[in-house]
């Protein structure tokens, strides 16, 4: 008697792959972005009863404004947003490449901005403008570097967990700012914009300096990581500390040096925010962008030019969704939700690039 016996067995199983060509990988990522943006459109359609096309038009207007009529106000605002977020992401990248999970961009930028603010208030009236600018730039970078160095030194000496350390440093920075704001704000909790020590405006455009600085930084970080000896050391330490030891790289020195650079670049972001944009400071000056920057750096695969694209996308979503919320009387937190959904989708799609799903071929029947 032939009895056919069926067995439970997995329909599919997951295997690792490393044979995906770069353009295929990018096809997957871009497809994911398109799909998730589409999802977001559907979501806002549900909430606002506007058609998809209308939603996207509102988003477009929210980012670019009436650009066809020659009005570039919105566009500059968009570029400014990109510049700040990109600056923070660039700052994090050398550390991430070294597998040092610097989650402290928020605090490092805040402290950098704090240094700018002090210079503007305390020295603004005594120093000449060029000297003042130089002092602001140097102190901001030093302050940011210091904030990055503290966790780095402990990481190098005792292997103290840097993710948690840098996270905590953010809140210490926040409280220092809160203290300072109360001190200088005369109890009002607000520091009035300071006129001295503002970054120059070029051709009447107040954002251009920021954008140019970040454009330069993008090239700098790219070249530094890819073509300099330091960059090479960072890669080796990140890939394998054992190899670094083997060829005689001083791992501790590289960790400390890299975090000083990472912190200093965050300090630059702080300076751009305080001296270049707000001319004042509060605990919310960086506004969580230090955390968004972590995601940008990672999504950009630690490549500055891909990061330009990622920041462009995220800022587009943030501004665009903000505008949708504004127009349709939704809460402004709608933008956070949208950014969150898109990032979660993109993070998830990496799975399709690194793994593939194999279905079992061939039925298995056993005669017993």
């Amino acid at each position: 008697m032939a009895k056919v016996k069926h067995h439970r067995e997995p329909l599919f199983h997951i295997v690792k792959r490393d044979d995906m060509v770069w353009w295929q990988a990018w096809l997957v990522r871009i497809a994911t972005i398109v799909i998730s943006v589409f999802l977001m459109g559907l979501l806002s359609k549900m909430l606002t009863e506007k058609s998809l096309l209308e939603t996207f038009e509102i988003m477009y207007r929210g980012v670019f404004g009436r650009i066809e009529t020659g009005s570039t106000v919105m566009l500059w605002k968009y570029l400014q947003e990109i510049a700040i977020l990109l600056c923070l992401a660039l700052a994090l990248t050398p550390a991430f490449k070294m597998k040092f999970w610097n989650c402290g961009a928020e605090g490092q930028a805040l402290i950098g901005g704090f240094a700018s603010m002090i210079c503007m208030i305390e020295l603004g009236k005594t120093l000449s403008y060029p000297v003042l600018l130089a002092v602001i730039a140097v102190t901001s970078m030093l302050a940011g570097a210091l904030w990055g160095l503290i966790p780095a030194v402990f990481k190098a000496l005792f292997n103290t967990n840097e993710t948690l350390f840098t996270l905590m440093m953010n809140y210490i920075a926040t409280q220092i700012i809160a203290y300072y704001v109360y001190l200088k704000g005369g109890g009002s909790n607000i520091i009035q914009p300071v006129a001295e020590g503002n970054l120059p405006t070029i051709g009447g455009n107040r954002y251009l300096v920021n954008i140019l600085v970040v454009a330069l930084l993008t090239v700098f970080v790219y070249v530094y990581l890819k073509y300099s000896k330091h960059g090479y050391e960072i890669s080796v330490v990140g890939e394998s500390q054992n190899t670094a030891r083997y060829i005689g790289i001083n791992v501790k020195k590289v960790i400390i040096r890299t975090m000083a650079i990472s912190g200093a670049l965050c300090g630059v972001a702080g300076m751009l925010l305080v001296a270049g944009t707000d001319h004042s400071i509060n605990t919310n000056t960086v506004g969580g962008q230090g955390f968004t920057a972590i995601m940008v750096s990672w999504l950009g695969q630690f490549n500055p030019f891909i990061m330009v694209f990622m920041t462009g996308l995220i800022c587009f979503l943030r501004l665009g969704a903000g505008k949708v919320a504004d127009t349709c009387m939704l809460n402004s937190a709608f933008a956070d939700i949208v950014v969150g959904i898109v990032i979660l989708c993109v993070v998830g799609c990496e799975f399709l690039i690194r793994y593939s799903i194999k279905f079992r071929h061939g039925k298995k029947e056993v005669k017993a």
């Binding site: 016996k5 067995h7 439970r8 067995e9 997995p10 199983h13 295997v15 690792k16 792959r17 490393d18 044979d19 073509y227 300099s228 000896k229 330091h230 960059g231 090479y232 050391e233 890669s235 080796v236 890939e239 394998s240 054992n242 190899t243 030891r245 083997y246 060829i247 005689g248 001083n250 194999k358 079992r360 061939g362 298995k364 056993v366």
Partner: protein
């Protein structure tokens, strides 16, 4: 009495990624009341095959039968329900847990009561003569204690099909013999024992039958009583090979590196090197034999400037002017800056010698990136070197810009050795340079070493295969528990002599090894 089959494998195939076929159409049967050896070279798919029986991997094709019934083993848990237990080569233990916690881990029936479990564990230990402290934490245990925990873990689950993956790699001969006796007892109990190994003498002394794998394919099964070493070797490597390594007489041999009273303490405070003294000479290969983990790695790393010494001197004799240079407590960079051309092929190729995610060119840069005053990298010279190595050593790769982790083991090693030799060293240290390599690649490496020897390089060769050591080296220094237990002339010694020295106890190991 006819034996009952415990496990049957039919047409098992397993692939990793698109290119690697680990097992292809393997058919195999293991019976109750027998010890079956799975014999094969490194990389022949032994472990992968056994992992499929124990539920770590799932076969792409084929069937597994346990006691005549088809079994679907999706997870180790399924394997346990078929009373299959595997002792992995790399122990699967949780470091911060105690032995008892590790042993009961994952068992779901009955009430969780560690005290009762400890009683059962003690009972099992007494039955088979294991020595174990159930409440000791794994991180404070020796390798052989950890293995004991692994075996008890499997027995505790009532497994009667036991798979052991290279169980003797980390054991002394005495411990090995003890283990073998235990295994024989278990066989007589009616258990089915499968042991993975590549050591022929173990196969012959322990098992009833031998199944041979070659490059992922099943070659055949023979009864141990009816076979011999040369037949098994032939099955293993495909054609009859005489292990015949070319060895020239050392010429103009002079002292090149003197090590005196080297003592080294690890982070836990244990002495890993104890008063080690020896001399390496130019134009000769000094072999270092010993059980894995006896201080070989620390010794090489100490010379390369990667280990802090608590005592001792390392003196390099400069071949140009005969000047003595002290290498103690120098970093690798300082050693290089002193003009000492010291090359080192470490045991861990992709974790230390090379960076897996970097391409061949960037891996060449590892040794040379500091050259020049520019703050930027010079990639021209390394690129030329990469092309030269690919050509000269016949490295199989799509190009110089392929990440080395994508290359096969043999090609990875060619890249590493090629780079180290390219620095035209005066001292060359190699650790387990042919581990995991096929015969052809192994011979490429032997030839490279001999070439260097003839150029007058002092070579220090840490090996595990005594046959190779005896055939390739000029002198062999034996290390045991961080001490030098003897130095022998490779041309006149026997494997047995070296084996004895490897396990010599501490008290009588007080000999120095000055050539």
């Amino acid at each position: 009495m006819e034996k009952k089959p415990a496990i049957e494998l039919k047409n098992i195939t397993k692939r990793f990624g698109a290119r690697v076929i680990a097992n292809k159409n393997v058919n195999l049967t293991a019976y109750r009341g027998e010890i079956l050896s799975i014999l094969g070279e490194n990389g022949s798919g032994k472990t992968t095959l056994m992992n499929m029986i124990s539920g770590i991997y799932f076969p792409d094709e084929g069937q597994i039968f346990v006691d005549g019934e088809e079994a679907v083993i999706l997870s180790p848990k399924d394997a346990f329900s078929y009373r299959i237990g595997m002792i992995h080569q790399h122990f699967k233990l949780v470091d911060v847990f105690s032995a008892a916690e590790n042993i009961v881990l994952g068992i779901e029936d009955g009430k969780y009561n560690l005290k009762n479990s400890i009683k059962d564990i003690t009972a099992i230990s007494e039955q088979y003569g294991f020595d174990i402290q159930p409440e000791k934490k794994i991180y404070s245990m020796s390798v052989s204690e950890k293995q004991t925990v692994e075996i008890i873990k499997v027995l505790y689950r009532g497994a009667d099909i036991l798979i052991l993956d290279e169980p003797t790699a980390v054991l002394t001969p005495q411990e090995t013999e003890k283990l073998f006796n235990i295994l024989r007892n278990m066989r007589d109990d009616g258990k089915c024992i499968i042991i993975i190994t590549h050591k022929l003498h173990e196969v012959l002394s322990l098992s009833d039958r031998v199944a041979v794998l070659r490059k992922g394919e099943y070659v055949g099964t023979v009864n141990t009583a009816e076979t011999n070493e040369s037949e098994l070797t032939e099955m293993m490597v495909g054609k009859k090979v005489e292990l015949n390594i070319h060895r020239s007489e050392p010429k103009n041999s002079v002292d090149r590196l003197q090590v005196n009273g080297l003592t080294c303490v690890d982070r836990q405070g244990a002495t890993v090197l104890d008063d080690v003294s020896f001399t390496a000479k130019s134009g000769e290969i000094l072999g270092i034999a010993g059980i894995a983990g006896s201080g070989q790695r620390e010794l090489l790393e100490a010379i390369a400037g990667l280990q802090h010494l608590s005592n001792g001197e390392i003196t390099y004799i400069n071949p140009n002017d005969g000047k003595l240079e002290n290498l103690r407590d120098k970093t690798p960079v300082q050693i290089r800056d002193m003009g000492v051309r010291l090359s080192f092929v470490p045991e861990d190729r992709l974790g230390m010698g090379l960076v897996g995610n970097m391409d061949i060119v960037d891996n060449m840069l590892l040794r040379s990136y500091t050259k020049g005053k520019s703050i930027f990298l010079q990639r021209k010279a390394p690129k030329d070197l990469a092309m030269k190595i690919i050509k000269d050593l016949e490295v199989v790769t799509p190009g110089a810009n392929t990440p080395v982790r994508r290359l096969s083991g043999g090609n990875v090693q060619k890249v590493l050795v090629g780079r180290e030799i390219a620095a035209s060293p005066t001292v060359l240290m190699v650790a387990y340079p042919v581990r995991g390599l096929d015969i052809n690649s192994s011979y490429t490496i032997y030839n490279l070493l001999n070439e260097q020897k003839e150029k007058g390089v002092a070579i220090i060769f840490v090996g595990e295969d005594l046959d190779v050591l005896v055939e390739l080296c000029d002198r062999i220094m034996v290390i045991g528990s961080g001490r030098i237990t003897g130095v022998v002339d490779a041309r006149t010694t026997t494997k047995e002599e070296i084996g004895l020295l490897m396990t010599k106890s501490k008290e009588d190991g007080k000999e120095t090894a000055n050539g």
